[in-house]
Symmetry: C2
Amino acid sequence: MNKIVSDERIQQRLSYFEDRCKQLGLRVTHQRKEIYRTVASSCEHPCAERVLQQVREKLPNVSLDTVYRTLASLEEMGLLRRVGLSVKEHFDGDLRPHGHFVCTQCGEIYDIFFKENESMELPACMNEVGQVRQTQVQFKGICKMCQSR
Amino acid sequence: MNKIVSDERIQQRLSYFEDRCKQLGLRVTHQRKEIYRTVASSCEHPCAERVLQQVREKLPNVSLDTVYRTLASLEEMGLLRRVGLSVKEHFDGDLRPHGHFVCTQCGEIYDIFFKENESMELPACMNEVGQVRQTQVQFKGICKMCQSR
DNA sequence: TTTTTTGCAAATACTTTGCATAACG
DNA sequence: CGTTATGCAAAGTATTTGCAAAAAA
């Protein structure tokens, strides 16, 4: 398994997860707990299918759609993040260094030009990981348009 | 239409596009040209379907799969970028501020912890765009593993 | 003329949804 | 017991692929 997170830390997180569930009136089911445990103790940024595999080692009958539903609610609960953006691919012909603001409500993508971006240096540890071809900064949130509704 | 890019600039880009095609032995077809023109002159980060719509205003018979194929080759040619990550969604239970390195060959995602990330301030223009909930820095490139093959 | 690219159609991959049953609190 | 969450099956969306015909060089 791919586990660098300590058991102790996972326990902490699980109990926080249970508290949050109670706070929000969500039920603490075996499936939710196992799905959250999997994501919280994984270092591999698993996709839904991969989460399912891991969860099924303990709960063999869990279905993929439960995994999707649960991952979505864990995200809403603020217990995990989605790496990346949206289901669709989006393309950008503007090659100047710039970032993007993505509205999580309407999906709109806005260009963000800012100085820090242009002069951004690669972190030192980058050498050990690989050769960087491009850097993108993404901001997620709610855009003005959606706010004023 | 969504055009802020000047005609002059688009012409420049199109002729660079043709040069690159010749350099690489790729044919300059109407479809490729129109697809590139669309992405290069758009400010809306279009998805494939949206590119198709625009392209069809000039070339009504272009098909969606050609758009996909062409966008992929334009990316390889270094003429456009994919906003986001990969087709699949990936989830991350680690909420500490950190970035990701994504290998464009094998798809592996590596965590990148670095000081600059923790202290990163939001660009001033952000106020005009929306309320930021989270910030993610993404690096794309080829990882060590893939390099040594 | 030769080779690449296209369009069509179909397959594949990923994610979401409706509904009856099961399980939490 | 009442209500929410799950599993199943099916639908919905996005992307990719094989192949014959069309078009570029």
